[in-house]
């Protein structure tokens, strides 16, 4: 892995076409019940093709809500989301794939069956299932586990498969909701490297929700720092480092500088969130 690998495309990042356009998105839960909770407030954000963008914020701030709205799984209260020129009102399985935590592999199906059913849901012709499954499993080095059930695999292996399932969907955009949260630190780092080289190879657009500062710095081209609930954009931090990134990047001084900068930005927001939770506000996955 050399840093020179993809130098050509890194500077062009700001000129590439917009893949996801979020305009003034607001989300209020429990509308009309008198117990409404404001989750998102006026979020506006353009994500460019081939960009790796992290949504970073204190847990429960609404970052997953934003991701789910982008993916068409949740309706927004106000504002618009456009993907590939289309207004998002429902999932667009041919444009965006979701990768959740590893536990969303269907436990009643084998690895192969999980891929088949995903491709079937997506409407991919039967003839392509086998090749796409094999290709995606090969990409994460899991071909020999095709016949296993998820609970026969370790958590790290499951997440590799889950990642591969997202890749097999063949979409330009992958939305990832804390996919590595259940993993131990070492597995996390290895999968992070895999993801970085995947990005370099395929040029996919990735939106990634996390609350890990190191993960955000290591993976992102841009980190969108969100405030405590209701989430609004506090600052966007740019990480100038081409993909694929090597673990050596973590040893560079600017890696820690960026992480410290993020911590500065987040510290108050984390305190606010803790105060809210202490006050009995409903928690939730973010």
């Amino acid at each position: 892995m050399t840093v020179a690998f993809d130098q050509a495309r890194a500077p062009a990042a700001t000129e590439r076409p917009v893949a996801i356009s979020v305009k003034g998105v607001t989300k209020r839960f429990g509308e009309g019940t008198g117990l409404g909770v404001m989750a998102l407030s006026e979020v506006t954000l353009d994500i460019r093709r081939g960009e790796f963008v992290c949504l970073l914020g204190p847990s429960g701030c609404g970052k997953s809500t934003l991701l789910n709205i982008i993916g068409g799984l949740l309706p927004q209260t106000a504002g618009t989301v456009e993907v590939a020129g289309k207004k998002v009102a429902a999932p667009l399985p041919n444009d965006m794939a979701f990768v959740f935590q590893e536990s969303t592999l269907f436990p009643w199906y084998t690895v192969t069956e999980n891929f088949r059913v995903a491709l079937k849901f997506q409407g991919v012709p039967h003839a392509e299932w086998e090749a796409r499954t094999q290709e995606a499993l090969a990409a994460v080095g899991m071909v020999q586990f095709a016949g296993h059930y998820p609970d026969q695999l370790s958590v790290g292996m499951r997440q590799r498969v889950n990642l591969a399932r997202g890749i097999a969907m063949g979409t330009d955009i992958i939305l990832m909701d804390e996919p590595f949260a259940a993993l131990d630190e070492q597995t996390r780092m290895v999968l992070g490297e895999d993801l970085s080289s995947l990005l370099a190879k395929t040029g996919k657009t990735i939106v990634f929700v996390t609350h890990s500062l190191a993960e955000a710095v290591f993976l992102s081209d841009r980190i969108v720092v969100l405030t405590a609930r209701p989430a609004a954009i506090k600052k966007i931090v740019r990480v100038e480092e081409p993909h694929p990134r090597s673990p050596d990047f973590m040893l560079e001084p600017r890696f820690s500088e960026l992480r410290n900068e993020l911590y500065e930005l987040l510290r108050d927001e984390i305190r606010k969130t803790m105060a809210m939770q202490g006050g009995g506000a409903p928690g939730g996955g973010g």
Binding site: L73, P91, P93, A97, S103, T104, W108
Partner: protein, 251 residues
């Protein structure tokens, strides 16, 4: 881990059955219990052989099994449909889940005379009674199964573009099935017990009727023969059902 402890458990279970038969043999041999209350093991075994070799038992067996199957079929179809539709709305689940659970606790046997009144002394009353009793565990477990489908699976499937039918077939059903099959097994055993019990209370024919008749005619050997036959059949059926349930629950 399971193999050795499984073997030990099986051995103790077999020993338990052997001890029961041994005690039965002992108390009759020593005349500790009057033969009217408990006939000797050998006599019961010979009577079973006689019942089946002369062919007189088969009509009763056929009738009772058919009644059980009919009652069970009704219970399963009604229970699955009701259970599924109740879970289509959170409101309906909140209304009907506790309602069905409470109705299940009523000793419906108290209403058995009404079943005879409405459906006659033939198999009809036993079918209706067995089907009603067997309906509850199927409906309750179907509700439990479909309500526990985890949201993350539904979201994942939706994000992949699943159609409503695809969601039902590949997510809802496989997720709910392990809980539903338990309900199906319990329901079968309840249908079986209800039909036999109903036949003992009021019927024109069937295994239950034969047991009741033998008791009334003071023919304990015949009565015990039928009981032993039912115990053996039920044990075998339950073993088969547990096997099937285990297979389904495994995944």
């Amino acid at each position: 881990m399971g193999a050795t402890s499984g073997f030990a458990a099986r051995s103790v279970q077999i020993a338990f059955v052997a001890i029961v038969i041994g005690v039965w043999w002992g108390v009759t041999k020593t005349h500790a219990v009057m033969p009217l209350f408990l006939p000797p093991v050998g006599l019961v075994a010979r009577t079973i052989d006689q019942l089946f070799s002369t062919g007189e038992a088969w009509a009763a067996v056929r009738l009772t099994l058919l009644t059980i199957v009919e009652a069970y079929a009704l219970a399963v179809v009604a229970g699955l449909l009701a259970g599924y539709f109740v879970t289509r709305s959170r409101f309906l689940t909140e209304v009907f889940e506790p309602l069905i659970a409470n109705l299940f606790t009523i000793p419906i046997i108290l209403f058995f005379p009404l079943f005879v009144l409405f459906f006659g002394i033939g198999p009809g009353s036993k079918i209706a009674y067995g089907a009603l009793y067997g309906f509850f565990p199927v409906a309750l477990n179907t509700i439990a199964g479909f309500s526990r489908v985890e949201r993350r699976f539904l979201w994942a499937a939706r994000s992949m573009g699943a159609s409503p039918f695809g969601l039902f077939r590949h997510v809802l059903v496989p997720s709910a099935l392990p809980v539903i099959v338990t309900g199906l097994r319990i329901s079968f055993l309840i249908c079986l017990a209800s039909v036999l019990g109903g036949e003992e209370l009021s019927a024109a024919a069937g295994i239950g009727k034969n047991i009741e008749l033998a008791a009334e005619l003071m023919d304990p050997a015949r009565m015990y023969s039928w009981i032993v036959f039912v115990v053996l059949t039920t044990t075998v059926l339950n073993l088969v059902l547990s096997q099937i349930e285990g297979r389904v629950r495994e995944r």
